[in-house]
Symmetry: C2
Subunit: 118 residues, 2 copies
DNA sequence: TCATTAGTTGAATATTTATTCAATTATATT
DNA sequence: AATATAATTGAATAAATATTCAACTAATGA
């Protein structure tokens, strides 16, 4: 979508600030990726999985038992996290062991918890 | 839901790890709030709004113009962010000026961008 | 080889949610 | 008082997504 076609239905009130902000703004793709990343943390089940994997490497059944949810549901979510490179896995025998594949998750949780506790 | 009623459809493979993890796990409410918080950042429109407000205080029309979106859409999202105490506003004349009301947003964006850039 | 178990996957369902549209409130101006 | 503009709001629509269910693969062991 070109900047020339305006969808916006209202006037610019502070032209300078608007222009300056548009100029500095990261591109669409950056925001999309950023939002996609935060969306991954923005689900209770995935948040629990990531927290658990930050404690220990675990197989799918372990995680399902920790969260008291079905294996299939956990596996679907692990697939999502895997495809987004937030977790990685290794297969050993019949079991698949998952670990965190992102150094930032712990820091993000800490900042999130700070917000929650005012 | 009590811990005694098991939904999980698979056996515990590493009992010790599972028990230890359950014992350490924050309560349901903490995860819900944490996920809700990240969900707020996990939308392209809201991510842009927050980034913009981190640059300047702005009124609704300014933000709508920066994002090239309708005033109503922006106002809905600002309402969501306001009710979650991530932004605050002050009214001056006909305009309503919004600012960030959370010190962690900048830090979160930085960590998020680090993830995106491998 | 057969049975069992861990894990994955696709389709269906149910829920959540972002945007639009229309109506409304509040402030400023003539 | 009448008009115009900034912003909010509720309802409707459309899109995204979490979980369930059933079928499937791969590895183990009897």
């Amino acid at each position: 979508m070109s900047r020339n076609e305006f969808i916006c239905d209202c006037n610019v009130i502070h032209q300078e600030i608007v222009d300056k902000t548009i100029k500095k703004m990261p591109d669409e793709n950056t925001f999309n990726k950023l939002a996609e990343f935060f969306k991954l943390l923005g689900d209770t089940t995935r948040a629990k999985i990531l927290w658990a994997l930050d404690q220990n490497e675990m197989c799918v059944c372990d995680i399902a038992n920790v969260l008291n949810m079905s294996k299939s549901s956990i596996s679907h979510q692990l697939g999502t996290l895997r495809r987004s490179n937030i977790v990685k896995c290794r297969k050993q025998g019949k079991e698949v062991y998952y670990t965190l594949d992102d150094d930032h998750v712990k820091g993000l949780f800490e900042l999130g918890l700070e917000h929650i506790n005012h």
